[in-house]
């Protein structure tokens, strides 16, 4: 019975998308909200029925045979990492509808249908257990986002949507080539065709180091564009700036995580040794991204672009955690995927609410809203603090773990007998330089708050509250969209342990599957990390 849950979670949004498409236009948003909420019900079921004591195993497995002789099937199943990302997706769905409630007046059926379809595609990416289904969903996410930006975006929407599509599509095709190569190589190993991700992961490790390096490069072409990793990030600020609020929320909240999830599941899962080998280089890119994008944020005048670039900076930490390939780093990275979805998603909502009232995102034209919109301002300050990594809120948990993960991840430190070090190719300097990003983040985010929230009230010329049809401060509907995210940020920050405990098992399986060079450790008790664990296979 449980095996129905994932297919139902996938099907419900599509059913409602069709329903919305044939509704009268004025009922579209209501139907969409109901659809999003009902679609969240099976996801709640997943959350409650998931057996957390076997969190590393893929549960709720379901499979449809397609062409067995070719190894083609559509199969799904989730471990706790996928589960939590699906939960995040389901949470952001209704929030997006609430955030678009008054903003989308033209062609609402098109908008909400695609928004619902998007849910299916994203959940599909996280739930997929075979390559075809994964890639179908991965690519399919482009289409709804293309429509959301291209039809419902602002001035430069066409260029933004085309660039978004082409850039990520090209990357994905190269990633596809890498994945196909793995499948081909695996077929030689197994003597039959298989596209099962678990089987492919086991076989991929048997490839030669050169092959692994090439597969790594191909996969990263797809996933690093999505993340986005410096210097492949330039589509993001444009897409974010032009996208409607819901598009930005989905883009920052979930779509970027498809990239980091891809790295986690496929790069780390398939070719971990190549990843460890190239980790220093990739980490340098991530760190450049953290500081470079952070400094660009500092000189932005467009508040939405600022938050968009901040995503580039933030996701650098997430990638750094992945490259640390230890339990803290990977846990931090997975936490980062979740927490960034909450706080940056919320920031885009906040900016959307401001934009709906003032029709500008220029920080020179809208300032000092604290005296006019105290509720909006309180939420804004709260989410900025979450984003800045204030302890007690979500951003801190993930950022801290990513950084300490990078700090520990040094085989040299292990060899030097530091008990808290783990095998890996990074080390203290990586964390120290990336940590400068903490200071830069405080700079640009507080300067942004200093302009938009504090100071004397400045409004665009000719602004009239009555014209927007919205209350001066946030409406109950808008607060309802923000409250779950705010609660998430707080609970996540104070009680991260349930989440950390849930993802510990799959993360540890991933870490133990990496075959590090044995390290001479002074004390025999500290060998666990260096021992080869051939039997255990990563997701």
């Amino acid at each position: 019975m449980n095996s129905v849950l994932i297919p139902v979670s996938l099907a419900l949004p599509v059913v409602f998308a069709l329903l919305v498409a044939f509704m009268p236009a004025e009922r579209a948003r209501g139907t969409a909200l109901v659809g999003m909420l009902l679609s969240a019900v099976p996801v709640l079921g997943l959350l409650f029925l998931f057996d957390y004591s076997r969190a590393a195993e893929f549960q709720f497995a379901a499979s449809v045979e397609w062409a067995p002789q070719l190894g083609l099937s559509l199969s799904v199943g989730i471990d706790s990492v996928a589960l939590l990302l699906i939960a995040l997706t389901a949470l952001l769905g209704p929030v997006c509808v609430l955030g678009s409630w008054t903003a989308i007046t033209d062609r609402p059926r098109l908008f909400y249908s695609w928004l619902l379809v998007m849910q299916t595609a994203m959940i599909g990416v996280f739930a997929a257990r075979d390559l075809v289904f994964f890639y179908m969903c991965f690519e399919f996410t482009l289409l709804p986002m293309f429509v959301l930006i291209g039809v419902f975006g602002s001035t430069n929407r066409k260029i933004a949507s085309i660039k978004f599509f082409l850039y990520t599509f090209t990357g994905s095709l190269i990633a596809l080539a890498g994945l196909v190569y793995v499948a081909w190589s695996a077929s030689g190993h197994y003597g039959r065709w298989t596209l099962d991700i678990g089987e492919l992961a086991a076989a991929a490790r048997l490839m030669s180091p050169t092959e692994q390096g090439l597969v790594l490069a191909a996969m990263l072409a797809g996933f690093a564009v999505k993340v986005p990793l410096f210097p492949l990030h330039t589509w993001l600020p444009l897409a974010h700036t032009e996208a409607p609020t819901a598009g930005s929320v989905i883009l920052a909240g979930v779509l970027l995580k498809l990239g980091t999830y891809g790295i986690y599941r496929f790069v780390l899962g398939f070719v971990p040794m190549a990843m460890v080998e190239h980790a220093p280089f990739l980490a340098v890119l991530a760190i450049i991204g953290i500081i470079y994008a952070g400094l660009i944020c500092w000189v932005q005048t467009d508040v939405k672009k600022l938050v968009a670039y901040s995503s580039v900076s933030h996701l650098g930490f997430c990638v750094l955690g992945l490259l640390a390939v230890n339990t803290t780093g990977l846990s931090g990275s997975v936490m980062y995927m979740l927490s960034h979805g909450l706080s940056t998603g919320a920031l885009f909502l906040m900016i959307g609410f401001m934009y709906e009232r003032y029709h500008t995102r220029d920080m020179g034209q809208v300032q000092g809203l604290a005296s006019k919109m105290p509720v909006w301002s309180s939420f804004m300050v709260f989410f900025v603090l979450a984003s800045v990594g204030l302890p007690g809120l979500n951003g801190f948990v993930s950022e801290f773990l990513c950084l300490i993960g990078a700090f520990q991840s040094s085989s040299e430190l292990v060899a030097a007998g530091h008990p808290g070090a783990t095998a890996g190719a990074l080390g203290p300097w990586y964390a120290a330089v990336a940590g400068v990003g903490m200071v830069v983040a405080a700079m640009y985010l507080l300067i942004m708050v200093g302009k938009v929230v504090w100071g004397e009230l400045v409004e665009p010329a000719g602004h009239d509250d009555a014209h927007t049809g919205l209350p001066v401060d946030l409406s109950a509907r808008e607060i309802a969209a923000l409250l779950p995210l705010a609660a998430g940020c707080l609970i996540f920050g104070l009680f991260p342990q349930p989440l950390l405990g849930a993802i510990e098992a799959p993360v540890n399986v991933a870490v133990r599957s990496i075959e590090f060079e044995p390290v001479d450790v002074p004390h025999t008790t500290e060998h666990a990390e260096a021992d080869l664990q051939v039997g255990e296979v990563a997701p």
Binding site: I296, L385, F400, F407, L413, P419, A421, P428, G435
Partner: protein, 697 residues
């Protein structure tokens, strides 16, 4: 450091379980946060938030007293929940643990007593001081006020370095929110921002210190860290002056931690945020930026004192930074005219004494000075606040004179005098004298620390001078006042201005604090360190140099023991400073603005005086060295990103369309063509699979 010093610390006793109710100390202020938030939402327009705050914080203080009475020897831990628990193996260091819990020893208790006590009193003061803002602003103020005490409790009571970090950034946040309380004032917003960002630089050092502690010791829980054999082994080496057997990593940890301490406690080179922080309401300046938060750096070093002792250079560095900061900021304080700024620089300077105290190994002296300073500096700020409140924001000492004889200002004047005497280190009858003395004497005892001692001694004279410069200008002399620009809209302008003297809440708090500054004398003075010394001896900050040889080895000035003669020397220096202030600023002064002797003195100093008044142009220097280049770099990045990085992408994207010669069609056409190409991609995938399958099959 010589080899005849034996170090011990008192965490050898097993760590017990603290009673659950110690958690009320942070929980009650958190309750205050919640209640005040609810009142803000409900739109309460009375002084209710203040009374709730005073109630919560007072109750928290009572619990702290109960904790003092209940606590025996050693340390105890109270755990609320597992905050972080990540494990990848069974060995030591293969779990990253941080409980949300509290570590109670005497150092904790000492700190929490004055934090909660002062917070209660200053909350009471603020109930009156902030009364012009009753409404949403009043609620907002007390939300942040309560949150500050909660954060401070986490910082001080936290059971591990991560809890400390939580509190550390939490107090930084409250500081940010409260400095920027008058959020329409650009200078206040800028000051809040500056405080947070400069502190973040320190926080980075602290964070890296925490990481390295974990990597090297395998734990960040205090209870485990202080009990670790590794640390004990290092201390054993260090006690023999043998640092070559202590790994570099262990010696770097305190270097990183102290960066955090310098940021939070406003030491060189990260002190620049604190004077600007005076933009906040005065109760905030008194509580956060004078008495409690800025001593967090001192607490950090005291808490991790054993870790600092295993580094050859850490504590000497702390001593030098402290001594230099004390002297440097005193020179700025001497040349300022804004009395609140003068007090701010004096805070930086006094914090320098505390760091120097830690650096020269008198943790007792440092803690004693934190303790006495908390009372008299809060008192001084609250007196300045009362003046500011009464004279429409006037803080310029050239615009006020002779408050002593004005009606209703007697209590403020007398308590101000008490505060000034303490700060100036007036001999015997002030607690500030005794605590400062311990630090200066010890500086001359420590080998190699003599120059720091001289710096501190000279600074003591300067301190006495600038403190009484304020008192002699503002509180005595001819009566005169000019109101500031924060006139209330009550119909009459500056010409009809009447200063309004403080009411019962402000006056009673001032009196209590003045009394407490005397009560503190026996607590720090009796039996070398007194009660405060006992509290420190029962904690991780305990340090004892058993060997007397160290004293004889560093004879200072013709064979006198510094501990014996320092009382007399510092007494003379202090009184001399007061007399110079009298000669320059009171004798012959005929009006508030005119002090002929001081003018003559100023002219004699030439440009030096002007440089000091402009704070030695440090802000301008930092702007030139860091902010401007970084801003230029950011602009370059911005254009590089637009033109180069994105330009390459656009060029790459242009090539295929140029080759294909296809023109863009309309919106739908584009959509369809991409949908088609995506389907094509999938098809390609399937085709490739099929071909490969047929070949292998």
């Amino acid at each position: 450091m010589t080899g005849d010093v034996i170090l011990t610390f008192a965490a050898d006793a097993p760590v017990g379980v603290a009673p659950w109710w110690v958690m009320l100390i942070p929980a009650l202020p958190m309750l205050g946060v919640i209640l005040c938030t609810l009142m803000a939402i409900a739109g309460v327009r009375s002084k209710l938030p203040a009374w709730v705050t005073v109630g919560c914080l007072g109750a928290s203080f009572v619990v702290a007293v109960a904790m003092l009475l209940n606590h025996g020897e050693g340390a105890a831990v109270a755990k609320a929940w597992d905050w972080f628990h990540i494990s990848w193996g069974d060995a030591q260091g293969q779990q990253f643990n941080a409980i949300f819990g509290f570590y109670i020893d005497r150092l904790t208790i000492l700190w929490m007593l004055f934090v909660t006590g002062l917070a209660t009193l200053i909350g009471l003061y603020a109930s009156e001081y902030m009364s012009h803002d009753v409404g949403p602003g009043y609620c907002r103020f007390f939300v942040a006020f309560n949150l500050f005490v909660f954060s401070m409790a986490c910082l001080v009571m936290g059971a591990n370095m991560l809890m400390l970090y939580l509190g550390w950034e939490g107090v930084g946040l409250c500081s940010y929110l409260l400095i920027g309380y008058y959020y329409k004032k650009p200078s206040a917003v800028a000051a809040g921002k500056k405080a947070f960002i400069v502190n973040r630089i320190g926080d980075l050092g602290l964070a890296l210190g925490v990481y390295l502690t974990f990597v090297h010791f395998g734990t960040i829980e205090y209870a485990e860290l202080f009990a670790s054999d590794k640390l004990a082994g290092y201390l054993e080496h260090a006690s023999h002056g043998d640092f070559s057997h202590i790994p570099l990593a262990a010696q770097v940890i305190p270097m990183l931690l102290m960066v955090g301490a310098f940021g939070k406690s406003a030491q060189l080179p990260l002190y620049v945020w604190l004077p600007d922080a005076m933009e906040g309401p005065t109760p905030v300046s008194a509580l956060i930026h004078a008495a409690t938060m800025v001593t967090a750096g001192v607490f950090l070093i005291a808490r991790t004192y054993p870790v600092f002792q295993v580094s050859e250079y850490a504590l000497p560095t702390v001593a030098w930074i402290g001594g230099l900061t004390a002297f440097f900021s005193a020179t700025i304080g001497m040349a300022q005219f804004d009395i609140k700024r003068i007090m701010a620089y004096s805070t930086v300077s006094q914090l320098g004494y505390m760091f120097a105290g830690l650096g020269v190994l008198t943790s007792v002296g440092a803690a004693a000075h934190v303790f006495t300073h908390a009372f008299f500096k809060a008192l001084l700020f609250l007196c300045c606040g009362a003046v500011m409140h009464g004279f429409a924001g006037q803080l310029d000492l050239r615009k006020l004179s002779g408050l002593w004889r004005m009606k209703g200002w007697g209590i403020v004047s007398i308590t101000m005098l008490v505060g000034c005497l303490n700060l100036a280190g007036f001999p015997v009858i002030t607690s500030g004298f005794w605590s400062k003395d311990m630090i200066m004497a010890e500086a001359f005892v420590r080998p190699g620390m003599g120059p720091v001692g001289w710096l501190l001694l000279i600074t003591a004279g300067l301190t006495a001078y600038y403190t009484f410069r304020v008192f002699f200008r503002v509180f005595v002399g001819p009566q005169e006042y000019h109101p500031g620009d924060e006139l209330h809209d009550d119909g009459h302008g500056a010409e009809h201005f009447h200063p309004h003297a403080p009411g019962w809440a402000i006056n009673s708090v001032l009196v209590i604090l003045a009394v407490l500054s005397f009560v503190a004398i026996p607590l720090v003075a009796l039996n070398h360190g007194g009660w405060v010394g006992e509290m420190i001896h029962g904690s991780t900050a305990h340090y004892e140099a058993h060997a007397e040889a160290g004293h004889h080895g560093s004879v200072w000035l013709a064979g006198f023991n510094p501990h014996a003669v320092m009382y007399y020397i510092s007494a003379v220096v202090g009184i001399a400073g007061i007399l110079v202030a009298y000669a320059l600023h009171l004798r012959g002064r005929t009006s508030a603005g005119e002090a002929p002797a001081a003018e003559a003195f100023k002219n004699a100093l030439g440009p030096v005086q002007r440089w000091a008044e402009h704070k030695w142009y440090v802000d301008e220097l930092y702007d030139f060295l860091f902010r401007k280049p970084l801003w230029v770099l950011s602009q370059i990045f911005r254009y590089v990103d637009m033109l180069l990085v994105d330009g390459l992408v656009n060029t790459a994207g242009w090539i295929p369309s140029a080759l294909g010669g296809r023109l863009r069609r309309g919106q739908n056409g584009v959509l369809q063509s991409y949908a088609a190409s995506m389907a094509g991609g999938l098809a390609l995938f399937v085709v490739v699979v099929l071909i490969l399958a047929s070949r292998s099959g």
